[in-house]
């Protein structure tokens, strides 16, 4: 809640508007009471006619309209404030994700982060649209009413002052109780409400087992249990409203009794004063009670804000680029790892002390079991994450001393699961090129990547929509799109994560052929899963448990590194089966 308040206080202008219109709103409420009471008093007791009271009637009409207007302004300001804060938070989150991107996807938390970006930020809204304006209103309106009441009858004023604290006190006591209770129920509630979705999702399975009809009772039962659990929580909330109602009622009764007695028995008060106090008293207590419901609405926002802040406060390993240009453009850069280590935090190294050299135009294969750190190696090599230890030297200088664009212009990355953006196939391939890529260039790239035939067979050809809401492509097809991207770009360093499963023959052949083609003008670094790739490599980096165990050609490693020889033997043993 603190963070949200800070954000609210930072908006000085909007805060000033809220303060100002709350003050005026209070004034309107008092003026409304004044005019109504005056008019009734004059007509009823002093026998005045409507025409004599035209100024009062006019004033009352203005005040009534003013009341609506200031309520509107207050609400509108809250909505504006919410928009600004939501924009700020989204921008901060975006900046955070930009600085710290790979960690998220490496830890498989992308889904969570999407939800923070969407839902949590939307939930923050209630704090500014409901809670904050109401809080300011409740700070001022009762005070103004009190001043008005004190000025005509201090006894009633005093009663109001004394009774007022009971409302927040009750609110807090009951609020705490509800929170505990609702926290207790939370798990239960989640289980009950999840049951329906669970059953729907499993409906095919149930039908195959001939069990679907029986689920009806289960759904009914869990729904009713859900109802009971929810009602338990709600009953307390309703009870708290009831108590508050009783408190304010009792207070109003005391005030009514006081003004009544003094009006009738002691003749100490005029009708005007008594009526004035009686009209204002409910306004006073209503305003206090409203804070309660606003507080409730604001509390949901606090949870959401906590999620956003904890996301923002996550440790980061930012990647900062320099402004050196890359040297020779006709030859791929030389790359050297100098005692490079990488950790995701908590001291557990994904890679440690890797030292290796990759000369231009070489075909390098990275080999190791799953979890050996191969993908992390690729991420480091491509400059997507920065090493926790050591450094990567490119053409004699640290990689991060270069311009970001200069470096990435050299890189092609074909991952196992390339991402398709929602858009046409042509747009997806064009991602690899500059914005000026022509359709002809895209078609040539597609042909080289062996996807042209497939694309042209589609009704809309290159204009077929893919990605979210579009046509789905298979894993092999996606990799071919990624290849087409690479052909469009013609990078001097190609990073390739070879598929771990056998694809269809056609894709296998295309992949081999394409990599060979790309290799003519570039260095190729492959996380290799195929024996022929490994055998053909100029250099093999053999990783195990985050360390570089050995490096050399296949023949070197088979003879010199028992672990490697064993791995190959197991693979070829598997062959026999």
């Amino acid at each position: 809640m603190k963070k949200l308040k800070e954000k609210a206080q930072a908006q000085k202008k909007h805060r000033a508007i809220l303060l100002f219109s709350s003050l005026l709103l209070g004034a309107m409420i008092v003026a409304q009471a004044y005019f109504i009471v005056t008019i009734v008093d004059r007509i009823f007791l002093q026998g005045a006619s409507v025409s004599e009271l035209l100024p009062e009637f006019g004033g009352l009409l203005l005040v009534l309209l003013g009341r609506g207007l200031f309520t509107y302004i207050n609400g509108r300001t809250g909505v504006r404030m919410a928009s600004i804060v939501k924009k700020e938070f989204r921008a901060e989150l975006l900046a955070k994700f930009r600085r710290n991107p790979m960690q998220a996807s490496l830890k498989g938390q992308s889904g969570e982060k999407v939800s923070v970006m969407m839902d949590s930020i939307d939930e923050i809204e209630a704090f500014y649209t409901k809670y904050y304006p109401q809080m300011i209103q409740t700070t001022f309106v009762p005070i103004i009413i009190l001043i008005a009441v004190f000025s005509v009858n201090w006894v009633s004023g005093l009663t109001m002052v004394i009774t007022a604290p009971f409302i927040p006190i009750f609110m807090i006591i009951i609020g705490q109780k509800t929170q505990k209770k609702s926290e207790e129920q939370m798990e239960k509630l989640a289980a009950f409400s999840g049951r329906f979705l669970d059953t729907l999702q499993g409906l095919s399975t149930l039908k195959y087992f001939g069990r679907s009809k029986e689920q009806l009772e289960g759904i009914r039962e869990s729904s009713i249990n859900y109802r009971e659990a929810t009602m338990d929580v709600l009953k307390i909330a309703f009870l708290s409203t009831l108590m508050m109602e009783f408190v304010s009622m009792l207070s109003m009764a005391i005030i009514a009794l006081e003004v009544g007695l003094r009006l009738v028995i002691y003749n100490q008060l005029s009708f005007f004063t008594a009526f004035f106090v009686l009209v204002l008293a409910p306004e006073y207590y209503t305003s206090l009670k409203e804070l309660g419901s606003a507080f409730h609405a604001g509390r949901g926002s606090t949870g959401a804000a906590n999620r956003v802040t904890s996301e923002l406060e996550q440790e980061e390993q930012p990647v900062e680029w320099g402004d050196n240009r890359l040297l020779g453009s006709d030859s791929p850069p030389s790359i050297e790892f100098k005692r490079v280590g990488f950790t995701y935090g908590e001291g557990s190294f994904a890679l440690k002390e890797i030292s290796a050299e990759i000369a231009p135009f070489k075909e390098v294969a990275i080999v190791g079991k799953s979890g050996a750190g191969k993908t992390t190696f690729l991420h480091l090599l491509s400059g997507l994450v920065s090493p926790s230890e050591g450094e990567i030297i490119v053409d004699g200088r640290p990689i991060f001393s270069y311009q970001e664009s200069a470096w990435f212009d050299q890189i092609g990355y074909i991952s196992q699961n390339p991402y398709l953006f929602s858009g046409t196939i042509a747009e997806n391939i064009a991602v690899g090129g500059t914005s000026q890529s022509t359709r002809a260039e895209i078609v040539i790239a597609s042909e080289k990547a062996g996807i042209a035939e497939l694309v042209e067979g589609l009704d809309d050809g290159y204009d077929t929509f893919v990605g979210e809401g579009g046509r789905g492509l298979s894993g092999g097809e996606k990799q071919r799109v990624a290849l087409a991207r690479a052909f469009l770009k013609m990078p001097s360093v190609v990073i390739f994560d070879e598929p771990t499963v056998g694809l269809d023959l056609q894709t296998e052949r295309i992949l081999q052929r394409s990599i060979k083609e790309l290799a003519k003008g570039s260095t190729i670094i492959t996380v290799a899963h195929r024996l022929h790739t490994i055998k053909n490599a100029d250099q093999i980096l053999f990783l195990a448990e985050g360390s570089l165990v050995a490096s050399g050609t296949h023949e070197d490693l088979v003879t010199q590194v028992p672990e490697y020889a064993e791995m190959v033997a197991v693979q070829q043993g598997g062959d026999a089966s």
Partner: protein, 577 residues
């Protein structure tokens, strides 16, 4: 409107709670009006020094009204929420009943995986229907009419103004805003969708964006999407406020008119001045009952959209279900004690909205008791073939016959009953291992279940072990093995297995297959396999590509032939995992 009719029917099932909600809502509304009317009367009466008993009675009434108000409000809230949750339960059950016959076919029609969560969300949002749309207007109208009848006794003119006020604030203003609001909801939804897509692409596609330096562009798109979504939310919020404020101003203006008319009548001697304050208090209070009408349009529109979305899911296929229910007697039952023969004759199939044939003129025979493996790249039509056998789809051309009987003449349930199905993704329910196994049959003993677990190498599981939603606490391989255990327990005699062990290691896989083949010795078995190992034991291997069968034969026949299968085998041999 039509769709909401069904919801109304479900609401009416809870007559008692509905009745109590309206009754107590009415009493609470009337108590409030009476409370303020009485206090206005009391104070006026007090001013003209009445006999003491009038005051005493009035004060007693005042107490009575306030206690009644507080208690009836509580009761109203209690019953209306109880009703709401009961209705929610009815809705779920009703919807489930309508959806159940359409599964699994309907899941193929709606490809997007979030269909089910949308359904759950829509059902959930219909809880506002009773609470905000259905009963508040009823309460409002009854309270208004009673109040108007009461004021009629004092002044017909005032009553007429109240009627006008009711029409304005209860019908015209909300109606006008409802009409203006019509397109907004869908616009918000679209913009939210856009933002969600951009965020997802930014996070999931980060690697490709970064490498191809499209990240800045995407950030800009994301920011734009966020801003226009926020602006639309703001517009929506401000519109709602405006609506609310206009309603408030109109009702205050009506009170003003009543004061003018009342004042005039008093001066003209047509109304006793002692009632003037009372009438003003009445009109100020009674309009509180029309406040819920300010949110009526948005809730009405939400409910209408939710209902029409829901029933478009289950309603669209109504004809199909009718068709099958018209002639249920013609459908045949197969004896599930026999091992079935399956024949496919010139079968072709294309997915809805796709020109490409997923199955292209396939003719296959699966004799009773035969063991067949189907292999081929992803997208070659293997799974589609199984789906035709499961009656998830109907063949566009050609015949599928079970036991010589055309499959569309056989009842779905009979097919499913006789089949042991393991799909690529199998659903597990929240509960225990035992719960999930018992789906296969109620009479299963713990012994039998433990034995089945043993066969799939899950001996480490106890029957009471927890299974979370979607089996998210189980690994991929454990889920697959649990699914196999489940069909082992089902014990039907046609086995349809779609890559049942793709996440299980080779050794465990072969042990499980020995058990399976043992149990299925006399049964018909079709196995879609992603691996080419262990297929020597099959009677026949079918190789598919692009929806066609391109090779078939025993393992050794295919290897000798040195065709497609042989080449795939060579690649598989060279792939390291």
């Amino acid at each position: 409107m039509k769709e909401l009719g069904i919801v109304v029917k479900l609401v009416m099932k809870e007559k008692k709670d509905v009745f109590y909600s309206i009754l107590f809502g009415f009493l609470a509304g009337m108590a409030t009006v009476s409370l303020f009317a009485n206090s206005g009367y009391l104070i006026s009466k007090a001013a003209v020094t009445p006999p003491l008993y009038v005051l005493t009675v009035s004060i007693a009434l005042l107490k009575l009204f306030s206690v009644t108000r507080a208690l009836t409000r509580y009761a109203e809230r209690y019953y209306s929420h109880r009703a709401t949750f009961t209705i929610l339960s009815n809705l779920r059950v009703h919807f489930f009943e309508r959806l159940e016959p359409l599964v699994p076919g309907i899941f193929q029609k709606y490809r997007s995986g979030d269909l089910l969560s949308r359904i759950v969300g829509d059902v959930e949002s219909l809880q506002n229907f009773f609470l905000r749309v259905y009963y508040p207007p009823i309460v409002m109208i009854i309270v208004f009419l009673s109040t108007i009848a009461f004021t009629m006794y004092f002044s017909v003119e005032v009553a007429i103004v109240l009627i006008l006020g009711l029409i304005l604030t209860g019908v015209i203003v909300p109606g006008w805003f409802a009409w203006k609001r019509k397109n907004i909801e869908s616009k918000l939804r679209v913009q939210r969708g856009e933002l969600s897509t951009e965020t997802t692409e930014f996070l999931y596609g980060f690697l490709d964006l970064k490498i191809h330096q499209k990240q800045k562009e995407k950030e800009q798109q994301l920011t734009n999407a966020s801003n226009s979504y926020i602006e639309e939310q703001e517009r929506d919020g401000v519109r709602g406020l405006f609506n609310h404020s206009v309603n408030q101003m109109v009702s205050l203006t009506v009170s003003w008119f009543i004061l003018v008319i009342g004042g005039y009548l008093v001066s003209a001697g047509q109304l006793d001045g002692v009632f003037l304050a009372m009438l003003v208090m009445i009109s100020l209070t009674v309009f509180e009952n029309s406040t819920p009408m300010a949110v009526f349009p948005s809730h009405y529109e939400d409910s209408r959209l939710a209902a029409s979305r829901l029933f478009s899911v289950v309603g669209g296929q109504k004809q199909d279900t009718n068709k099958s229910s018209e002639k249920p007697k013609e459908l045949k039952q197969l004896d599930n004690r026999d091992a079935w023969t399956i024949e496919m004759e010139n079968v072709s199939f294309a997915f809805p909205d796709e020109k490409r044939l997923a199955l292209d003129n396939v003719s296959l025979n699966f004799p009773a008791g035969s063991k067949t493996a189907i292999v081929g790249p992803s997208g070659s039509g293997k799974s589609t073939l199984l789906q035709l056998l499961l009656k998830v789809y109907e063949a566009s051309k050609g015949n599928v016959r079970l036991q010589g009987e055309s499959i569309d003449q056989i009842e779905n349930k009979s097919v499913w009953k006789g089949t042991n199905i393991v799909l690529q993704h199998n659903h597990f329910f929240y509960g225990t291992i035992r719960d999930n196994l018992l789906i296969a049959g109620d009479e299963l003993t713990d012994e039998a279940m433990l034995q089945a677990l043993g066969k799939v190498q899950l001996g480490k599981f106890a029957l009471d072990d927890r299974v979370l939603e979607h089996g998210q606490n189980l690994s991929g391989g454990e889920k697959q093995r649990l699914a196999i255990a489940r069909v082992i327990l089902k014990g039907s005699r046609l086995w349809l297995l779609d890559e049942p062990t793709s996440s299980v290691d080779a050794l465990t896989e072969s042990i499980i297959f020995q058990h399976l083949l043992e149990q299925a010795k006399e049964d018909t078995l079709i196995l879609i396999s992603h691996r080419l190992t262990g297929l020597e034991q099959m009677d026949r291997i079918i190789v598919m590509e692009h929806g066609k069968m391109i090779e078939s034969g025993t393992f050794s026949e295919l290897m000798d032939k040195k065709g497609y299968f042989y080449e795939m085998k060579q690649i598989e041999k060279s792939v390291f995992t």
